[in-house]
């Protein structure tokens, strides 16, 4: 440990984060959402959409809600109503069963969802097999984005990226998707600045990457974005289609998508339980804070949020190796010692979370139209990544300030990171912050500010802190934003076979 942090201060920060998280965990334990319930149905095997493209799970959950409310969960009414042909269900009249009916519905629901979870378990086992067979790349993993909007254009680009050295492929979603309260169906060819996350798109891309993994002798991971109004369902689909990493933050949707805080907190817990079971590495979104807030002034908000994400993650069953906590290289390059400040921040995160597969994001905010300056800044980002032992390096694009990446942008970006890794990959050996020097002092200062902030959040409540604009200088009141009407408090007798099975463990 190069920064010689005071373990007492670190322990205190964790205690405060736990205290701040507790009321939110309680909220999540006692509420459900439309998307959680739809995810249950997806696990139980409900797929497809009606002629208008509305998924059957939406039709079902809406019908249940209209008829009997969601406070008991969908499992009981749906499996009670289920006869021979599941297609009849949408026209069914739902009731909440009781007595023996309830027991039977419960059993059938549990069995059906169990099959979904078994598929997730098989995928996890398959992943382990494939990692053994193809080989697991050395960190830092190179993380590249494809975003053509058309899954059939994304596939060759993703394969090309893998051949060029990418270890992780992320398919960016169409800008609108996180606000949709349903998951589109099927293969899609039309998206804005990204491609819709659908089960079929997941399947197609995973298959394409399996193919190229075999070719390359290196297992290529696939990632997508859970955050949004359908976080639980997308997490579920990721588990069902063997995605390997998922963007899944406890607060991103609130702050950057104006999704209601309660909705998000309930959804994130369920989605993380799925990710935990699926052996999926989550990626959190603290990097985004630094696009709206100043990366120096707000450095401690990143750390505070990471500690909260860690606490929520642990509670949902995620192991340390699944906590891809996010942070970013976003300090204004015009300020003195910017690179040294970046190193201090990145090293601090590394030492606070030694076993977490940290996701380190490249400069975006200070990328301009000067592609040469951009290429340079990306190189220093890559260097900071290797010097501080980051685990997942997103690859910065010199054209970040201009357009979504072109083929050649990506190729040049990979050349950049390849050079840095090859030339200086092991330089961390000689990066030893001078005791009491600039780097160590800065890291300690950020940690101290984090403790102060968490202290305040624990006292005032996380919802209040969010409402006050603590994260990403964006104020989000607890009752504002989209999707609050999809949140329902559990009634006595609420039944969710998925939560039950997930909490029992494998």
């Amino acid at each position: 440990m190069k920064l010689d942090l005071d373990p007492e201060v670190v322990a205190k920060a964790r205690r405060l984060a736990a205290r701040a998280a507790e009321p939110i965990i309680e909220l999540a334990r006692t509420h459900t959402t439309v998307s959680v319930e739809r995810a249950v149905l997806r696990l139980a095997g409900v797929t497809g959409a009606d002629a208008d493209g509305t998924p059957w799970v939406n039709r079902l959950v809406d019908a249940v809600r209209d008829q009997v409310g969601l406070e008991h969960g969908v499992a009981l009414p749906v499996f009670h109503a289920l006869r021979d042909d599941p297609r009849e269900l949408v026209r069914a009249r739902f009731t909440i069963p009781s007595g023996a009916d309830a027991v039977r519905a419960r059993e059938r629901a549990r069995a059906a969802v169990g099959r979904g979870i078994a598929r997730i378990d098989r995928n996890r086992a398959d992943r382990n097999l494939l990692l053994g067979k193809h080989g697991d790349p050395e960190p830092p993993w190179i993380y590249l984005i494809v975003a053509t909007g058309d899954i059939y254009e994304d596939i060759p680009q993703a394969q090309a990226a893998a051949r060029e050295g990418a270890d992780v492929i992320a398919v960016i979603r169409s800008t609108g998707q996180s606000l949709l309260d349903y998951v589109p169906e099927g293969a899609t060819r039309q998206g804005y600045a990204g491609t819709y996350a659908t089960q079929e798109n997941f399947r197609l891309m995973r298959a394409a990457l399996d193919e190229v993994s075999g070719e390359l002798g290196r297992y290529i991971r696939l990632t997508n974005y859970a955050s949004g109004l359908c976080m639980p369902e997308i997490a579920t689909l990721a588990g069902l289609e063997r995605l390997d990493m998922m963007l899944n933050d406890c607060m991103y949707g609130i702050i950057f998508r104006d999704i209601n805080p309660r909705r998000t907190f309930v959804d994130q817990r369920f989605s993380r339980q799925i990710h935990a079971r699926a052996g999926i590495v989550i990626n959190t979104g603290e990097d985004n804070y630094l696009t709206t807030a100043d990366a120096v002034d707000a450095a401690h908000t990143v750390i505070a949020s990471q500690l909260l994400n860690e606490r929520f993650g642990h509670e949902a069953g995620l192991a340390d190796w699944q906590l891809g906590l996010g942070h970013a290289f976003e300090i204004n390059p015009e300020i003195p010692d910017s690179f040294r400040l970046e190193l201090a921040h990145a090293q601090l995160v590394r030492e606070l979370f030694p076993d977490a597969p940290l996701k380190y994001m490249p400069p975006t905010k200070h990328m301009t139209g000067n592609i040469f300056a951009g290429y340079l800044l990306d190189a220093f980002f890559n260097l900071a990544g290797v010097l501080t032992g980051q685990s997942i390096l997103l690859i910065g694009m010199m054209t970040e300030g201009i357009h979504t990446p072109w083929l050649s942008d990506r190729d040049l970006a990979l050349e950049n990171v390849r050079y840095v890794r090859r030339a200086a990959g092991a330089l961390a050996e000689d990066f030893r912050p001078a005791p009491g020097g600039f780097t160590v002092t800065r890291a300690r200062q950020v940690l101290a500010e984090t403790v102060d902030l968490l202290d305040r959040v624990a006292d005032d409540g996380l919802l209040t802190a969010i409402a006050q604009g603590t994260f990403g200088v964006t104020r989000r009141p607890a009752d504002g934003g989209k999707g609050l009407d999809g949140v329902v408090a559990h009634a006595d007798g609420y039944y969710n076979p998925a939560t039950e099975l997930l909490e029992e463990g494998p």
Partner: protein, 254 residues
């Protein structure tokens, strides 16, 4: 449009390291496999772009089907610099917040009402916030800071129908919309859709429509049906001054 005072005929060329060498750098990808035929195609393109002679200084296979090129060449084109009028700039004076407030108080006699939003699925609020929020941009305070301006910042991902409704509800003098994502020309489509909706809903009595974002440099306001476009680096003061200029044309700072 103001014509530059410098009216001497002036023909210029790009400059590499000596006057008149006319050298430029170009890079692009061609969807063909790497090789000498691809290089010939790259030179053909350079030729059509008016580079003569041109050299491929770098080419690289990007997978089996694409090749990236860097080309240097001498541009055969001349630029008639004298003939370029200074493009439409700020054709109105830049006012201080005090002057803006005074103008509104004097001419309008009530608060000037402004509604702001990012429309469509665009979630990039940093730009519109820079203009509207007190915090401001580049050291200038945003419109919220102006005592005589009433700001309604609707935030991101606002539907056009909602924007129209809100603008009507608060009787907005001006609607300020931001668009940052340009993929598939989303910014242009969204803006046109917005302008059409206001035209339909309000007819001639529509509020002033102001659009902003970093990549509107290929279009004019009339292309989009709006009154004004603001680009990269816009400051709140410029916008406030424009509002006075456009909405209170009778006022002049003395």
């Amino acid at each position: 449009m103001t014509i530059s005072t410098e009216t001497i005929k002036q023909i210029i060329r790009p400059y590499g390291d000596t006057t008149g060498d006319a050298m430029v750098q170009v890079s692009f990808t061609l969807p063909v496999p790497h090789g000498s035929r691809a290089a010939a195609a790259a030179l053909q393109l350079a030729g059509k772009m008016g580079l003569d002679p041109a050299s491929v200084v770098h080419s690289k296979a990007m997978g089996p089907d694409f090749t990236f090129f860097i080309v240097y060449g001498k541009a055969t084109h001349l630029i008639d610099y004298a003939g370029i009028s200074v493009p439409e700039g700020r054709e109105y004076p830049l006012l201080t917040p005090q002057q803006v407030n005074l103008a509104i108080r004097t001419v309008l006699g009530r608060e000037l009402v402004v509604v702001g939003a990012c429309i469509g699925t665009d979630a990039h609020t940093v730009g519109i916030d820079a203009i509207l929020n007190v915090k401001g941009f580049a050291g200038e305070k945003g419109l919220e800071y102006y005592r005589e301006i009433q700001v309604h910042n609707l935030g991101a991902q606002v539907e056009v129908s909602e924007l129209v409704a809100r603008a009507k509800a608060c009787d907005a003098d001006a609607v300020l919309v931001s668009q940052v994502v340009t993929q598939k020309s989303a910014h242009l489509h969204n803006t046109k859709q917005m302008a059409a909706a206001f035209a339909e809903a309000c007819g001639l009595g529509r509020p002033l429509l102001v659009i902003g974002g970093p990549r509107f440099d290929t279009v004019t306001p009339s292309d989009l049906g709006v009154d004004r476009i603001f680009g990269k680096g816009t400051t709140p003061g410029e916008v406030a001054s424009y509002l006075v200029h456009a909405l209170l044309p009778t006022w002049s700072p003395s």
